[in-house]
Subunit: 331 residues, 2 copies
């Protein structure tokens, strides 16, 4: 297998004409000029083999996911994707890996009009580091600090899918094939909720993307907003049944997964890349409209309260003990 | 040794109040707002253990170098440092490594008013990925593509020092201790030529920073400018004697380094982080003034010519064969 040089590698797989950037790949720096009145939202995620993905993952899917997790941070800010840089450490520069990786990466980039403007490639243990730039009008960013007592708490899509797929891979549970395929696609090829994030500008009071587990990431909103919350665990797991139904299988049929386990994964599973956000009670219709406009399902799962701390409730409003810990990358 | 959690690690070592950024560390994205009429220069470098630094390097120096190599790219664009993101993969989150690393990193950041605005930390083989942002007036970036036949060719500081230090570490050569300490400091703690880059705005016609070797990086200017060049090898090595003198040692005394070897390291050694730039002949006095104002030595080492290709000359203007190959991160 031929090994490529650094410049040949960039030229062949990653270089494209600059579009929105004033200057793209191929100089010491790229140049970006946000439009007047706009701010630049910047986020950065690093993916490490064995920690964030398995060595056996299809490079097409890995290229997709590496950018998706970064676009998810832009979504949580309500920013429109603009450009990104890619730093890549690779054991070997091989076309059979680079070509599909670049294909998956650039397909998602094109879908969001997000331009690759620079980066770095080097030899080393496989490591993918992307820094992404988005644009938004000054003062309109969705922050973690804006939740107010009385706000509703919402989550997009399904939570816990990625963890389900991981546990099937680990062999700790089994589920019907169609459900596994859905969960696996969600783990390997998550959909960044960019359209929903844009639709929530001026509507959501606080937002975060769920990468380390719903409760853990909710904790960031509560801490930075100086509020507490109660979460309806029934509402959280309600989507599990909907998901099983959409996979055309009987809910819980043929599975070795206990309902309590579903709940644990949904509340603390990690790797979901859904948006968790708050909005005033008076805006319920507007949130529903944003969900429809962005073609992104949204579930109301709780309420922000003045009393600090997090309270879990069952379907009858009774307290449920919180035994869930969030994902820590050094845990 | 206590292992820190991800959030505790960020909070303790890297979080500071936002200054120039509209929003700093601690949300899904950081927010940057370049001033009206300004462009953002963006660059990204990844450092891998064993490839870019030895596992035994002092973390203070590593923190410095990780940011320095990125600031060097801003310098080569003539951009003023503004902010950076840091993604860090670490085998273990240990205070004894993190504290000095953050200290070296943030000391250089403070020196340049360059604010840490976000990033990512994860467990994995040691890998440091920094993306840096600088600001410059629209249209004033120093590009690789502006060199014109007749321009002078200059290099800042000394080239070849980092390679000398590396070879001493490898045991292939020996030099007097004082000279080794100078070379080692240049390898482990390079000075990004930010002040010179700013002083060269509107003066240099093309610029690049030398990370992969003088001739290799000159090749990028020649290719992107559609020109050729001749390089006076005598002028390049002239700084070696000056450096040895500044170390208070007799040039070449007590060394096992042949002059041809010095030249090879200077032309193709890599890891120098000096600026290589071109300027019109009529601007020689202005280049000298820029060098003085930025307190950065500059040496005129050649000339841009219409004839494509690179010609090496000795002190008498006679042709010297080019046997030098540049550094390739997959070589």
């Amino acid at each position: 297998m031929k090994t490529l040089g650094e410049f040949e590698l960039i030229e062949r797989y990653f270089k494209r004409p600059a579009r929105r950037a004033a200057l793209g790949v191929g100089d010491d720096c790229a140049l970006l000029a946000p439009a007047p009145g706009m701010q630049l939202a910047v986020s950065c995620d690093m993916l490490v083999e064995g920690r964030h993905f398995l060595s056996t993952v299809d490079p097409v899917l890995l290229g997709h996911k590496a950018l998706a997790v970064n676009l998810s941070d832009l979504a949580a800010c309500g920013a429109k994707p603009l450009a990104f840089t890619l730093a890549l450490a690779l054991p070997r520069a091989e076309a059979k890996w680079l070509e599909p990786f670049a294909r998956g990466l650039l397909a998602l980039a094109d879908e969001h009009g997000c331009e690759l403007i620079g980066g770095d490639t080097t030899q080393g243990p496989l490591n993918i580091c992307i820094t992404v730039f988005g644009e938004l009008p000054t003062g309109q960013a969705l922050l973690r600090s804006g939740a107010t007592a009385g706000d509703d708490l919402y989550v997009s899509g399904n939570v816990g899918d990625a963890r389900l797929a991981l546990e099937v891979f680990r062999g700790t549970v089994s589920v019907p094939g169609a459900l596994f395929e859905l969960a696996r696609a969600r783990m390997e090829q998550p959909t960044p909720r960019v359209a929903l994030g844009l639709a929530l500008r001026g509507l959501a009071t606080a937002a975060i993307d769920i990468s380390d587990g719903l409760l853990g990431d909710l904790g960031h909103i509560l801490k930075q907003s100086g509020v507490g919350a109660s979460v309806d665990t029934e509402a959280v797991v309600s989507r599990v049944a909907a998901r099983a139904a959409s996979a055309a299988v009987e809910p819980l049929a043929g599975m070795t997964v206990a309902p309590a386990q579903w709940l644990a994964w949904a509340l603390a599973g990690g790797d979901d890349y859904e948006l968790l956000f708050t909005a005033p009670r008076a805006q319920r219709a507007a949130v529903l409209a944003a969900s429809k406009a962005s073609q992104t399902p949204v579930t109301r799962i709780g309420r922000i309260e003045a009393e600090p701390g997090l309270r879990l409730l069952d379907g009858q409003g009774q307290s449920v003990p919180n035994r869930y810990t969030s994902f820590d990358h050094f845990g």
